[in-house]
């Protein structure tokens, strides 16, 4: 491939200092991850409206298209973005201006930064960090700052109520989430996401979902709660507190919150597929009838497919379940999920000692 | 590394206590309020088991465990035995009191047992890390116990003060420890002692560390000028908690002073001797003089504690084996006396009535001659009147001071204890020569009456035959 590049570009590249070269390469990789991600975010919103529309026997957006063709409404997210860009950002009187403006940034920052350690297949990962899982956990846990600061800085009753709800909810579910991940760590013996996926090699029966179904359920449901999505979206709670923490936001500032929410949905889906469903590994691995067939090969398409399924689950939940009451959310987190995870970690410990399942070798 | 390399069997009493405490925790959660006695019995059983394990594991040698972080020696054995026994007696005394105030909860026993574990670890610590963790475990339990009576404003205030000042003291201790670690490069007390002998007593960094550590220790022990929390906490907390925090923790406090000042910083004894002289004199002076002005007996006993702490410091500052032995003797004697004193207060208290004013003791002789006599023994012992235990304790400390040629200091100590005699005798006067105001008969369970009488008679008996305990204390430091 190298020979097709004109000589002068290579010379120009070599003329840069080495540090700058590394910096540019990293920047390039970041752009390569972020641009598809943001596009995906935009189209998840479209997807959501469509999916929920069909579930409710409606059609969903179908008007906005490109160049005069309606194209099933595919232009809708672009039009929405342009509309929001041109709207005025209103800062409420008596609001804390700096914190008010910094809050959306704080909520999108971690949601995007977490992608640094997500491996897309064996080779494609921006930073192959040893403690990758911990890094992801840390970043998802600080996403709550955006919500809390937005709620406080808005100088609004509804917003602060929502901030308090979100704070308590995220702290509660983080514990269950962390415990569920302890089970994954026990099975893989590594904090590195790539190593966790590789530990599940050997077809569907070796995936962690088989051995830790309760932990998988706890993790995914906690993930839904952590992203403040239905049925755990009391932080938004439009029927009680209008729109929660972003009730005072408008225009692009609101759009950034919106982006962060969907980026988090994709992140949680990707993590679930990496940690419990073998990421890029094929479920048909090792089937003799499919030997050499692309279906049995590990590839990024498996990863994207699994992730898309979980994204679909998020939308499915929203169309299916009514919103939990706040005390029910707390009860579920503290009194159901945490005991379940602790019990299952104990069960796993027994499995390790008895050398059952993935620990047989 | 194998499990055996940890030599964990040395810490068997602690391991047993921790496991039993967890059992109590699990059992207590499933009990209804009417069955709360089961937690009490279980707590007593775990203490008994710990006591027996300690007794069977006693040794004269110095044994290290857990990579030299945990040490067992004669001092540790003796102090731990007393700590466990005293906590068991405290539990007996406090049962009726807690029931009368609707705070008869499993948590009192749980926190008490965890605090006991903390004290045992403090006593056995051979590294700064263990020392600090043991101390925090103890303090955290005590803060919560003081606040146990949530609906009582005084208790909440006391807990708040205790917590804030205790946290500051812990910060000081950590600061001193971090300097020590920086200078010696090790958390082990043995290595620190080695580093101190190498740098010598002139090293200003070491002295800095010493000051921080000393301030923190004196905070925890309640020596003047770090005594501000003592009266408020003693008065504010429920008497069942006051008796807990005024007895066994003093033994643990003595142990960490020995571990830190003597074992680790023994090379700096010329420095800490001077500091301790000031602290001891101030404690004896303020404690004894201010106690006279108190009308609340719990507050009065708090100031009396401060003066006793002054005496304990006197023994330590002698920096001789004799001094340490006498300080230990004094600490044990003080713990027993304080146990009895607060026991009597709880005996007089009943539901809705605290018996914490001096006037509540008026005419006790008419109500119950036997317990008036017990209180007489306790007060005589605290005042240091022969032939009680308190007299021998004071005598031993004074002798060790005179032996290092600090006669003037001994004179000061005697002077202030004579002042102190006044307020102890005042209680005796109230009991025997004043008319009773309160005719309610004493109501309390038989086991408490027995144990309380035993406690007071033990002080008398040890006063008549002090050699047995003294020999034990001396043998530890030779």
């Amino acid at each position: 491939m190298i020979e097709y590049i004109p000589q002068w570009t290579i010379d120009f590249w070599n003329w840069f200092p080495v540090d700058l070269q590394t910096l540019l390469i990293i920047l390039g990789k970041i752009i390569l991850i972020l641009v598809p991600l943001l596009l995906a975010v935009a189209y998840v919103t479209y997807f959501e409206r469509k999916v929920i529309g069909y579930m409710q026997v409606r059609i969903g957006p179908n008007r906005v298209g490109f160049f005069g063709f309606s194209l099933w409404g595919l232009g809708q997210p672009i039009a929405d973005a342009v509309k929001l860009l041109f709207k005025e950002i209103i800062i409420p009187s008596q609001a804390n201006k700096y914190l008010f403006l910094i809050a959306p940034v704080l909520s999108i920052g971690p949601a995007l930064a977490a992608w640094a350690v997500i491996p897309f297949n064996r080779e494609m990962t921006l930073a192959n960090v040893d403690a990758g899982l911990l890094y992801v956990l840390a970043l998802t846990s600080i996403g709550v700052y955006g919500v809390i600061i937005a709620g406080w800085a808005s100088n609004s009753k509804y917003a602060i109520l929502s901030a308090l709800r979100a704070g308590a909810q995220i702290v509660a579910y983080e514990i269950a989430m962390g415990f569920a991940l302890v089970g994954v760590l026990m099975a893989s013996g590594s904090l590195n996401l790539g190593a966790i996926v590789e530990a599940q090699a050997g077809g569907f029966s070796s995936w962690f979902i088989v051995w830790m179904l309760p932990l998988f359920l706890v993790y995914f449901i906690s993930g839904v709660a952590e992203t403040n999505r239905a049925p755990f979206d009391v932080a938004e709670g439009e029927s009680e507190i209008v729109a929660g923490f972003h009730v005072e936001y408008s225009g692009m500032a609101f759009a950034v919150f919106f982006l962060a929410e969907y980026a988090n949905i994709i992140l949680i889906s990707a993590l679930t597929s990496l940690m419990f469903l073998g990421g890029w590994l094929s479920p048909f691995e090792g089937w003799s009838s499919l030997q050499g067939h692309w279906l049995a090969e590990a590839s990024i398409f498996w990863f994207l497919g699994k992730t898309s399924f979980f994204i679909f689950c998020f939308l499915w939940f929203r169309a299916t379940f009514p919103r939990y009451r706040y005390d029910q959310i707390m009860r579920l987190g503290w009194k159901v999920f945490i005991p379940v995870t602790i019990v299952w970690i104990f069960v796993e410990g027994v499995m390790v000692v008895l050398k059952v399942g993935p620990w047989a070798g | 590394m194998t499990l055996d390399a940890l030599n964990y069997i040395v810490a068997l009493p602690e391991i047993f206590l921790l496991s039993m405490t967890c059992v109590v925790l699990v059992v207590d959660v499933s009990l209804r309020d009417a069955q709360r006695n089961a937690s009490y019995v279980l707590a007593q059983l775990s203490l008994l088991g710990t006591f027996l394990l300690l007794l069977s594991g006693m040794t004269d040698a110095r044994i290290y465990a857990f990579n030299d972080m945990f040490v067992q020696d004669g001092m540790a054995d003796l102090l731990k035995l007393f700590v466990v026994a005293i906590v068991a007696v405290v539990f007996v005394y406090s049962r009726d009191y807690l029931k009368g105030r609707s705070i008869f909860k499993g948590e009192y026993y749980l926190l008490g047992l965890f605090a006991t574990l903390g004290m045992m670890l403090m006593i056995s610590s051979a590294s700064l890390l263990m020392l600090y963790l043991g101390l925090e475990l103890l303090s955290l339990c005590l803060y919560a116990m003081v606040a146990l009576h949530r609906d009582n404003g005084n208790a909440s205030e006391a807990a708040m003060k205790y917590f804030v000042l205790g946290a500051i003291a812990s910060g000081m201790l950590l600061y001193g420890m971090s300097i020590l670690y920086g200078l010696s490069g090790s958390l082990m007390l043995v290595d620190i002692a080695h580093a101190v002998t190498q740098t010598g007593s002139t090293d200003i960094g070491m002295v800095f560390a010493l000051v921080f550590v000393l301030v923190a220790l004196m905070f925890k022990l309640g020596a003047v000028p770090f005594h501000m929390w003592v009266p408020d906490v003693y008065q504010g907390s429920p008497t069942a908690v006051t008796v807990f925090l005024s007895t066994a923790p003093k033994l643990a406090g003595f142990a960490i002073i020995m571990r830190l000042l003597v074992e680790a910083l023994g090379g700096l004894h010329t420095d800490w001797q001077q500091m301790l002289v000031i602290l001891a004199v101030l404690s004896m002076a303020i404690g004894n003089i201010v106690a006279i002005a108190q009308a609340n007996i719990k507050r009065m006993l708090a100031y009396s504690t401060i003066s006793h702490v002054g005496f304990i410091i006197l023994g330590i500052l002698a920096a001789s084996a004799e001094g340490y032995a006498s300080a230990m003797f004094y600490t044990i004697a003080y713990a027993l006396m304080s146990l009895g004193g607060f026991g009597i207060i709880m005996l007089l208290a009943r539901s809705g009535f605290e018996a914490d004013q001096l006037d509540d003791f008026k005419g006790l002789n008419q109500r119950s001659p036997w317990f008036a006599f017990m209180m007489l023994i306790l007060m005589f012992s605290m005042a240091g009147v022969p032939p009680t235990l308190g007299f021998w304790a004071k005598l031993a400390v004074l002798k060790s001071i005179i032996h290092i040629d600090m006669v003037w200091l001994a004179g000061v100590a005697v002077f202030f204890s004579i002042i102190g005699v006044f307020y102890y005798l005042r209680i005796i006067k109230l009991m025997y020569f004043d008319k009773q105001q309160d005719n309610t008969p004493l109501q309390c369970s038989t086991d408490m009456q027995f144990v309380l009488s035993g406690n007071a008679l033990l002080i008398l008996a040890l006063g008549l035959y002090p050699t047995s305990l003294m020999v034990l204390c001396v043998s530890v430091f030779t």
């Binding site: 540090d19 914190l99 960090v129 040893d130 403690a131 911990l134 890094y135 956990l137 840390a138 970043l139 846990s141 600080i142 709550v144 700052y145 809390i148 600061i149 406080w152 602060i160 901030a163 308090l164 704070g167 308590a168 995220i170 702290v171 983080e174 904090l191 005390d327 029910q328 009860r331 | 590394m1 940890l6 810490a11 921790l18 925790l25 857990f66 990579n67 972080m69 945990f70 909860k105 948590e107 926190l111 965890f114 574990l117 670890l121 590294s127 890390l129 263990m130 963790l133 043991g134 925090e136 475990l137 955290l140 339990c141 803060y143 919560a144 606040a147 146990l148 949530r150 200003i204 960094g205």
Partner: protein, 206 residues
């Protein structure tokens, strides 16, 4: 100055600045947020030391959980800043006097700074490890062998903290209204609904 040095100085400066912010900020919420920032810079510095487990744990535990709760409390406090600042000028001279005394005593004790009491002879370069070195593994190995006793006791302290927090907050108060979900779920139709049979009546018109 290498790139690593640059990062070190940048984050050190940020750490110092944010730590100053913690104590100088007028608004307690700002103070708490500055504290979050200083934790972040701290964890960046630890990353430079190849202590990635500690660095991330700092963010996870302190920033992600402790400070969230802290912020939670601070946001709900109704602090009157004017009232807090009252008397500041009045007490300032006394405070300055004692601060100066303290500084004076320190100079007197430490004496000649050129004597080098607190001087560290040489700053050692942090040990550099290979790419296969795992900070997490190294920590785990030490914690479960050499330091197993302190580790367990730290866990006991946390347990005590949980017990203490529960006993101090869990109490039945008279005025509280609460729901018992288990009872709500057990409700049968018959508890709520009574079907009454009535004869149809015709209203007589006049």
């Amino acid at each position: 100055m290498t790139f690593t040095d640059f990062i070190f100085f940048a984050f050190s400066a940020l750490l110092l600045a944010s730590a100053m912010g913690v104590i100088t900020a007028r608004n307690p919420v700002h103070s708490a947020l500055f504290l979050v920032l200083s934790f972040f810079s701290c964890s960046a510095l630890w990353l430079l030391l190849e202590a990635e487990f500690l660095a991330i744990a700092l963010v996870l535990v302190y920033v992600g959980a402790v400070m969230v709760l802290f912020l939670f409390i601070v946001m709900m406090l109704d602090i009157n800043l004017v009232q807090m600042r009252e008397g500041f000028v009045r007490y300032l001279p006394v405070g300055v006097f004692f601060a100066l005394c303290l500084v004076g005593i320190m100079i007197w004790v430490v004496g000649d700074f050129s004597a080098g009491v607190f001087e560290v002879p040489t700053l050692q370069q942090a040990v550099q490890h290979g790419a296969d070195y795992s900070n997490t593994k190294a920590l785990g190995r030490v914690i479960y062998t050499d330091y197993v006793l302190p580790f367990e006791i730290a866990a006991v302290i946390l347990l005590v903290a949980i017990i203490a927090a529960i006993i101090l907050t869990m109490r039945r108060r008279e005025m509280t209204k609460y729901q018992t979900p288990s009872k709500q779920v057990m409700v049968k139709r018959n508890d709520r609904l009574r079907i009454v049979k009535m004869e149809a009546t015709v209203e007589e018109s006049e």
